[in-house]
């Protein structure tokens, strides 16, 4: 019994020092949000609805955020931005919304559910995702229109689908996809499974799945870059936590995580 109690104290002590060490490591982040969060007394759960393409980077950002704010606990729900916007419009309880396009964010602001002006925090560009090794040697958008090439696109209602349509129109390529997926990760999954020869996904998604897919850059993607806006929601159950997360996402530390994943600075 005594050994267990000492062990518990030792673990608690380790956690406390780990928290302090993390905060001390990065003076910029600690300076910006550490004292502020500690001063505002933000505690409790923070629910973030974020676009599917933010899965890996936001999960990493969430871990860092919880290290800096031990009293806050972040929960993510990732999915197609348009579906998430609909959920918010139907009253889903959430604190923060990060969308993959201004158009999907607009549905939330138009519904009066935004608690402020959305801020663009990253940008994302499309690449052609192909199975590892690029077996069909697809190097451009016009190659996707070739005979026997199966292409998966996102549905036009979803941000990556809208960007894909813009890019294809810019290249003048007549590509008929075999499927219109409901979010970018589903389109990527089809490439990973080898069911399609190519899909138009974000650079970040191709990088996250680098073990299974290669990302082929194409020049027309510069004409279809998606700005990612983020906003705290008006009916947020935890407004202080939402503000803390929002400000953390714009710190250099979080921005570094995002650029490492393949996003571009706003």
């Amino acid at each position: 019994m005594r050994a267990r109690r000492w062990a518990a104290v030792a673990v608690a002590g380790l956690l406390a020092t780990a928290g302090c060490a993390a905060a001390d490591e990065d003076p910029a982040a600690a300076g910006a949000s550490g004292p502020a969060a500690a001063g505002s007394g933000a505690t409790g759960p923070v629910t973030v609805l974020a676009a599917a393409s933010l899965t890996e980077s936001f999960t990493a950002i969430g871990t860092k955020f919880e290290q800096l704010h031990p009293a806050l606990e972040v929960t993510f729900s990732f999915g197609g931005s348009s579906g998430l916007a609909q959920q918010i419009g139907s009253g889903a309880p959430a604190d923060v919304f990060a969308a993959a396009s201004p158009a999907t964010m607009k549905t939330v602001t138009d519904a009066g559910a935004a608690g402020g002006t959305p801020v663009t925090f990253v940008r994302n560009q499309l690449v052609i995702a192909v199975p590892k090794g690029n077996p069909k040697r697809l190097t451009s958008l016009s190659a996707l229109a070739g005979p026997g090439v199966k292409v998966a696109l996102c549905a036009p209602q979803v941000p990556c689908g809208a960007a894909a349509q813009n890019a294809l129109a810019g290249a003048g390529a007549q590509v008929t996809p075999v499927t219109l997926e409901q979010d970018v990760k589903a389109a990527l999954a089809k490439v990973k499974l080898g069911e399609v020869d190519a899909a138009l996904v974000y650079r970040t998604d191709a990088r996250a799945a680098a073990a299974d897919v290669d990302g082929v850059e194409f020049p027309e993607s510069a004409g279809a870059i998606n700005d990612y806006p983020i906003v705290a929601l008006r009916d947020a159950p935890n407004p202080a936590g939402a503000a803390a997360f929002l400000s953390f996402v714009q710190t250099p530390e979080a921005q570094q995580i995002l650029t490492d994943a393949g996003f571009q600075r706003p």
Partner: protein, 240 residues
């Protein structure tokens, strides 16, 4: 009943006529009815003999086979879709051979939709028919055999009429389940208007953008399904 009432109350009645004539709506409806009916036919062709084998014969592993038949009931439909991809997909066990030999692949085709729907709806038919077979007296078939009927003749003229209502009820359940199938369809067959976008898929995608459009599509599916199911005469289903 309440969710159905909610749909009816919330429907955009004023813009209904113009929404109904949008090309996507009719295409999705036609595809849904076609694939559900084809899937039911496939289930009947495969499921009735399977049910007969399970009910009338004894072989080692029979209980295991029956359990495997009911697996699609407990499996989440999306998982069923992934499983179908692993077998019938371009790199799948069977699909790879199909693709290499015939250049034909099931995913992203209307045939793929039929396969996905048949996969999830088959247990309903098999269980219903097996139950009817167990309830039917086997002595009638034995009597037919002593009177000189071959097994096929006995099956066709004695067994089938006996279990007719059970088969019909199972077929109706199977059709209804196939009509509403979403997860396996979108995972295995994908989503493309006119070819693989059934009504449930159309509703889901409409929901992403326009709640009213989704409600209209749901209402159409509801009305058509209720009309067909209510139109089936009780007599055919064995309800006296």
């Amino acid at each position: 009943m309440l969710p159905l009432a909610g749909l009816l109350i919330r429907a955009p009645w004023t813009s209904l006529p113009q929404r109904l004539t949008e090309p996507g709506v009719l295409a999705a409806l036609r595809l849904s009815l076609l694939t559900a009916s084809l899937a039911t036919v496939a289930c009947l062709l495969l499921g009735v003999p399977l049910a007969w084998v399970l009910a009338r014969t004894r072989f080692p592993g029979r209980r295991l086979v029956r359990a495997l038949v009911t697996v699609p009931l407990v499996l989440p439909p999306v998982v069923g879709g992934v499983a179908l991809l692993l077998v019938f997909g371009r790199r799948g066990l069977v699909g790879g051979w199909l693709d290499a030999t015939f250049g034909f692949s099931l995913p992203f085709s209307t045939a793929g939709v039929v396969v996905a729907e048949a996969f999830v709806a088959m247990p309903f038919l098999v269980i219903s028919v097996e139950g009817a077979l167990r309830g039917a007296d086997a002595r009638f078939e034995e009597a037919a055999a002593t009177l000189g009927a071959s097994r096929w003749t006995a099956f066709r003229r004695v067994t089938l009429p006996l279990i007719g209502p059970g088969v019909a009820a199972g077929a109706v359940l199977c059709w209804a389940r196939a009509l509403g199938e979403f997860g396996a369809t979108i995972t295995f067959a994908g989503n493309f208007p006119g070819r693989t976008q059934t009504m449930p898929l159309a509703v889901y995608l409409a929901l992403e953008q326009d709640l009213d459009a989704a409600i209209v599509l749901s209402l159409v599916l509801l009305v058509v399904s209720v009309a067909i199911l209510a139109g089936l005469r009780d007599r055919w289903l064995g309800v006296s």
